[in-house]
Amino acid sequence: MMRRGLAGQRLVAAFLGGALLFNYPVLSLLDRSEPFFGMPMLWVCLFAVWAALIAVVAWIAERGAR
């Protein structure tokens, strides 16, 4: 059962991490005016953090399936 086990706790940790990264003040650190390889820093960072969070959650959820 994943609910009570390690996977459940990992998912909560992932949630807390995501909530931290997607909000002030961390968000303000990403909000820079200079471009990142020609693309807006904030836009790139938000999608990168988002993708990383999904990857982490996928790893936890699918691993728990075994």
Partner: protein, 919 residues
């Protein structure tokens, strides 16, 4: 531009395709080969979250607020990472208690209350109406952009009267389709496999269409992301969109509020509840959806900002409504087919949302609003309607049409004043009001019906006052005065700056006040009184759903009803044929042959009520069942008793477990003891057979020689003397053996008599050597004696110790080699003890024999060569030495002789003193 006919024909063709998918899904479900029973379809069906708002509105939002379209998708990502905790519990609760909507969930949790169910339904309907209006607006404005019937694309059909308003026909068409998808027949579990298949299909279509358009804008119109962003950076107006702070005035607080709003919405939107919870086939599917659905959201959002910037760069600000960039950009580049595909994608998003949302809302309206009202009318009670399935279907279909028409009405009233996103957010804020009652209900036992009602009502009123009314007022249908000056001219009641709270955007402002009022009322009113029995029952069932078995819902009331009453009742709402099948299945489950044999117990009533709950909601099912059941509701005390009983049973079982463990340990001990006894028994048998064997050998020879003497009286004197000598020696041997056995038995049983005196070991060893001197001389051996000059006296039985010494010395005499034997006896005083060693130069003892020579009747050496002996000497010696607290042992190596040693402890000084004093 495309002609209206082409667009309408393509749209209808697409809807037909959807319908075919749904039909195929239904058919496969009937055959038992579901196409939605896999995690991919499940995750795709969750993407019904992405509506026309996402499809068209995100671009519009990005065009005015840059990355501010993102919180609406980041929130769900966060929510999904908790899905295995929150949504799984919702799924389990709903499956166990046949809950089919949010209204039913809340009503059921707080004591199956009609009032609560009704309130939740009203909030859902009112809250969803703007959202449905948004879909209608998206379709109609998309249509007008495609066909060019309105040049600006901003105000489609603004001047048209209602009967030639295309949007009305869009709404009606969608109503027909929704009825076809979701309300063709009645399902006890409110599950619609075909619809889910169609929704999953739609999700794929809208994603692909949006990605194709995004790819077109990014790489065909411009030269990739870099190009678009480089141009945007060059334009100060657009560059401002690329930063969070400059793009919107809402600030980080607004960002957080938006994320929270979306997080709650993805859990509590009626359509999300429908696909996530009600349509869930297998709980395990949630596992993949946890990441696949957020991944879908990420994909569909990658091109939002590029399309928005591309559109603004191409058209400039103010000429074309950014909400329609997805369509107008391909059109402007002459890509008609692409524009049509984009429109189909948008249509997909809109129809998917409308279908699922209205089905979910219509279930609520039917089960939690209309049915309770109908059931409470006297006329309905008097009339015995044989079959109500038709009525139920009629109510649902009516509800679908009414909800869509309400959406249309809102669209006419307020739709034109707002961008798509703003309308959607109003609905989100309404849905967020369910959160305290839902989450509180799942994790807190203390929530009561009154608390939930107060919280929902307060939250809803504040929401309506701070968001809904302003949206209507801003479109000119209400006097704007109350917006600017407050209700009754009271300044602190201004809807968008309630109590003077300024500096927040209208959504954050409304969310803060409504959730504050909601949570405060929910908690405070709940805490005002103790929950009733019914509330406590349901609270326990919901909060502890995982620890209770899935199969056996607890029955917290006493009641009995005849199956003859219950079956027709269920048949009235589900149809006679289906009811019969259900009861037959239940009878089989219970192990009885026919329906008539079912026991009229609480379990049967529970079964009937659960079946009914799926069709008409838990509160109505409760009312209907109680009309035919003789029952006594339980008070809080009794419910608590039952719960206590359950915990007592748990305690007992724990105790039982401990006891059984103790029992196991005791069994193991007993087994070991038994083994020991068996071994002792075996030893006793061995001992007996050894003793008899040892007795028989001398007896046999005595008898043989006696018979010879008897038979032959003429035997000569020489032989006669020899025979008699043998008989005498054998008799002596017998006597010795019997004496030793008796000795042994006495010592072992503790009955031996010990005559302790002060002993000088030097004298004793000398005496023993003298006694055995003849033995050694007979063998031609030498006995060396090594005594210290003085040795302390010890207190023991002199005769016994002499017995030990004689035994060891005679053993040595027996084993030394003939003619060349050397034996040596040595006495030495060590600290606290005296030691005696008897060494011989015999053949020695094999290592495997070292242990056994001290056992009874086990003699060293091999059978033939060993000298005569009883086999009891060493065991008795050891017993004697141990009796005086000493130790007897042997050291030997084959071929190198053997050394038998024993030590005896000396009495302590004080004891010695006492001993002397006595003598």
């Amino acid at each position: 531009m495309l002609t209206g006919t082409v667009v309408v024909a393509a749209s209808f063709a697409y809807l037909m395709l959807l319908f075919a998918v749904a039909w195929y899904g239904d058919r496969r479900a009937e055959q038992g080969r579901s196409i939605i029973a896999n995690p991919w379809t499940y995750a795709m069906s969750l993407a019904v979250y992405c509506t026309a708002w996402t499809y068209f509105g995100s671009v519009g939002r990005a065009a005015s607020g840059g990355v501010w379209f993102l919180p609406i998708y980041l929130g769900p990502t966060l929510a999904m990472s908790l899905s295995w905790i929150v949504m799984l519990k919702m799924i389990r609760i709903s499956r166990t208690y046949r809950i089919t909507s949010i209204a039913d969930f809340i009503a059921s949790r707080y004591g199956k209350s009609h009032l609560l169910g009704g309130l939740v339904t009203i909030i859902a309907v009112v809250g969803m109406v703007p959202y449905i209006a948004l879909q209608l607006k998206a379709i109609s404005s998309g249509y007008s952009v495609l066909t060019g019937s309105d040049d600006s694309g901003v105000f489609p059909f603004a001047t048209a009267s209602w009967f030639n308003d295309g949007t009305l026909y869009v709404a009606l068409t969608l109503a027909v389709f929704t009825v076809l998808f979701g309300a063709r027949h009645l399902d006890a579990a409110e599950r619609h496999e075909g619809m889910v298949a169609a929704i999953a299909f739609e999700s794929v279509v809208k994603l692909l269409a949006f990605l194709v358009v995004g790819g077109f804008v990014t790489w065909s119109v411009y030269e990739g992301f870099g190009d678009i962003f480089a141009r945007a950076f060059a334009n100060p107006d657009l560059a401002a969109l690329l930063s969070l702070q400059t793009a919107s005035t809402a600030g980080y607080g607004g960002w957080f509020a938006m994320t929270l709003l979306a997080l709650l919405s993805v859990i509590f939107l009626p359509r999300q509840f429908q696909v996530t919870v009600v349509e869930n086939v297998n709980e395990q599917h949630l596992r993949r959806a946890t990441w696949l659905f957020p991944a879908y959201l990420l994909l569909i959002n990658i091109f939002v900002l590029p399309i928005a910037l591309g559109g603004l760069l191409y058209f400039g600000r103010g000429t074309v409504d950014p909400d329609t960039f997805v369509l107008s950009l391909p059109l402007a580049h002459g890509e008609k087919a692409l524009a049509l595909l984009a429109f189909i994608g948008g249509l997909s998003a809109a129809t998917g949302m409308v279908i699922v949302e209205t089905i979910a809302v219509s279930t609520m309206v039917c089960n939690d609003l209309v049915m309770p009202l109908l059931l409470s009318t006297k006329r309905f009670k008097r009339n015995v309607h044989p079959d109500l399935t038709g009525l139920l279907l009629g109510i649902r279909r009516g509800a679908i049409v009414v909800v869509l028409l309400l959406g249309y009405l809102y669209f006419r009233l307020a739709g034109e004043a707002y961008a798509l996103v703003s309308i959607g957010l109003i609905s989100f804020a309404a849905v967020a009001q369910f959160a305290p009652a839902m989450l509180g209900g799942m994790y807190w036992r203390g929530g009561t019906r009154d608390g939930a009602f107060a919280g929902l009502l307060a939250g809803f009123v504040v929401w309506a006052y701070t968001l809904m009314l302003p949206s209507v007022a801003k479109s000119g249908w209400l006097d704007r005065d109350f917006l600017d000056q407050g209700l009754f001219g009271l300044d602190y009641l201004r809807p968008e700056q309630l109590f003077g709270l300024a500096g927040l955007d209208s959504i954050s402002h409304a969310l803060f006040w409504s959730l504050t009022a909601n949570i405060a009322c929910y908690v405070l009113v709940s805490l005002a009184r103790v929950p009733t029995g019914q509330e406590a029952t349901q609270a326990t069932l919901f909060v502890d759903v995982f620890s209770r078995g899935q199969d056996a819902p607890a029955t917290f009331w006493r009641g009995r009803a005849q199956v003859q009453d219950l079956q027709p009742l269920v048949a009235r709402f589900l149809g006679a044929e289906r009811a019969r099948r259900m009861f037959e299945a239940y009878a089989r489950e219970r192990g009885v042959r026919s329906i008539e044999e079912l026991k009229p117990d609480a379990g049967l009533v529970q079964f009937a009520e659960t079946q009914l709950a799926g069709a008409i909601g838990s509160a109505s099912a409760r009312v209907m069942v109680s009309s035919v059941v003789q029952e006594e509701p339980l008070g809080l005390d009794e419910v608590m008793d039952i719960l206590d009983e359950a915990s007592q049973v748990r305690a007992y079982s724990h105790e039982l477990e401990e006891k059984s463990q103790a029992l196991e340990a005791a069994t193991a001990e007993l087994r070991a003891a038994n083994e020991r006894l068996t071994e002792l028994d075996r030893l006793k048998d061995d001992f007996m057979s050894s003793v008899t064997h040892e007795l028989r050998t001398p007896l046999t020879s005595i008898r043989a020689f006696s018979e010879m003497l008897l038979d032959d009286p003429k035997i000569d004197l020489k032989d006669r003397t020899r025979f008699l000598t043998i008989i005498v020696s054998e008799t002596e041997r017998l006597t010795r053996l019997v004496n030793q056995v008796l000795d042994m038995a006495k010592i072992e049983s503790g009955h031996a008599e010990w005559h302790n005196t002060d002993i000088d070991m030097r004298e004793l060893v000398g005496h023993a050597a003298e006694t055995t001197d003849q033995l050694f001389r007979d063998r031609g051996a030498v006995l060396e004696i090594d005594l210290p000059d003085a040795a302390p006296h010890l207190r023991a039985d002199r005769d016994r110790l002499l017995q030990v010494l004689l035994n060891l010395l005679s053993n040595a005499a027996k084993f030394v080699p003939d003619g060349a034997g050397v034996a040596r006896v040595r006495l030495s005083a060590e600290t606290g003890q005296l030691r005696v060693d008897v060494t011989d130069n015999g053949p020695g003892i094999a290592p495997e024999q070292l242990g056994v020579i001290f056992e009874k009747f086990r003699q060293g050496g091999d059978e033939r060569s060993r000298p005569q002996g009883t086999g009891l000497g060493l065991p008795i010696s050891r017993q004697i030495v141990e009796h005086f607290g000493g130790r007897l042992w042997v050291q030997s190596r084959p071929g190198e002789g053997a050394t038998f040693s024993f030590v005896l402890p000396l009495p302590l000084e004080s004891e010695r003193g006492a001993g002397h004093a006595m003598t």
